[in-house]
Assembly symmetry: C2
Homo-oligomer: 243 residues x 2
């Protein structure tokens, strides 16, 4: 039925919906008003992830938490990926950027930012994995980006370099948080690991590993270790281009 005006099978204009959820309008104004919002959906998902881990966040689970049918959720979130985007941005909205207003001292400002970010990652153990996995656009993430750029403005670095610096900074904090988690989770695992490593060190196959074991002091407390590494990262950011 090529040109006859059959009323039903007309597909006028869904030519290409944007892949990025932030480019889809939350509401078009037509039809019944939605029962939920991106904010409430994200909040529900975050609550589940906080309580039971990221794997517990399934479309069914989130929909149920909202009191909705599973498939209804797909009206708001076309793919599960997008649900994760919403969670990511919800978490980014928890920064207290007002408390972090730039002071003109990039090192101090970045230290504060790093601490707040680590606290955020500790509060939401699923967060680091998401931050590392996906770019993280979205209004709140952009606010964070803007803040980072503001804080690093005094360095004299150009825009591109400061974006690269942010990626490094971000990546470092999240990786640290993630490492902290795997270390904390499972005393048995930890014990096995130590046993295995010492066995490996004593095998003679890894001389430098053995030597490192011998020369390293007692394990530092997590916060101290973080501060030390964070300072190194900040040094890298503030240092002149290279040598």
């Amino acid at each position: 039925m090529p040109s006859s005006k059959t009323p039903s099978s007309a597909k006028p204009a869904p030519p290409e919906a944007p892949e990025l959820i932030w480019l889809r309008p939350e509401r078009t104004g037509r039809g019944p008003r939605p029962a939920h919002s991106r904010t409430t959906i994200a909040a529900a998902a975050v609550e589940i992830a906080d309580a039971e881990g990221l794997d517990a966040v399934s479309m069914r689970r989130v929909a149920a938490a909202l009191g909705a049918g599973t498939m209804s959720l797909y009206n708001y979130v076309p793919k599960k990926e997008h649900l994760l985007d919403l969670m990511l941005d919800a978490a980014a909205g928890e920064y207290d950027l007002a408390a972090l207003a730039p002071t003109g001292d990039p090192r101090a400002d970045l230290r504060h930012l790093g601490h707040q970010q680590l606290a955020l990652c500790r509060r939401h153990p699923w967060l680091p994995a998401l931050v590392i996995a996906r770019p993280g656009i979205g209004p709140n993430a952009l606010r964070y980006t803007d803040h980072f750029l503001a804080v690093t403005a005094p360095t004299g670095l150009d825009g591109g370099a400061r974006m690269e610096a942010m990626a490094m900074f971000n990546g470092f904090v999240c990786q640290y948080a993630q490492y902290e988690q795997t270390a904390a989770a499972g005393a048995k695992w930890q014990a096995e690991l130590v046993g295995y490593l010492t066995k490996a060190a004593m095998s003679g196959e890894y001389p430098h590993l053995a030597q490192a074991f011998a020369t390293s002091g007692p394990p530092a407390d997590p916060d101290t270790a973080f501060d030390r590494s964070l300072d190194r990262v900040i040094t890298a950011i503030l240092a002149p281009p290279a040598g």
Copy 2:
């Protein structure tokens, strides 16, 4: 049947199998000899992941590639996690550490190592995600660790600090590789992103972002950008503790 000597239901000694796959012997010597080895299994999994991505690596898929039944695979790999461990170590086995023998110049050595690592991540796009997600023990990973410790020996840092440095280094390279992938994948996505960002920048909500857009030069080629950031990371590692 509590105390009668029924022959079948005796559970003598599976008290606690180690969680770490490297602590389980590959072969106990009893029973028929296995038709596969960890090496061949890892190779099959790697081949699938290279060709179709990490998501395509399922127990069924790998088993089929080996010509085995799905559940047979569980004799070698008690959980899927462990299959990923095997893949990780197989990839770590591809380092040409002989070509990277320590020269006494940590900066140069780390540069070489970083380049080889990036090449490895480009060859196996699934690798960065795995490295970031899990600690990465295993014989080949330990060889890498040992090498890193050897290369950084001249810095005078103690064992613990050099391990922290390795985590930073590793994390940086893998994150960069991962970023590169998401950037490369999907011109449409990329286009949407640029559009969204410029719109955001022009909204006035993100003044520093807008300014950064304005002041950043033309996008650098990926290798240059990598080298620049890598050098910063190396600086951070080599720098005296902090200021």
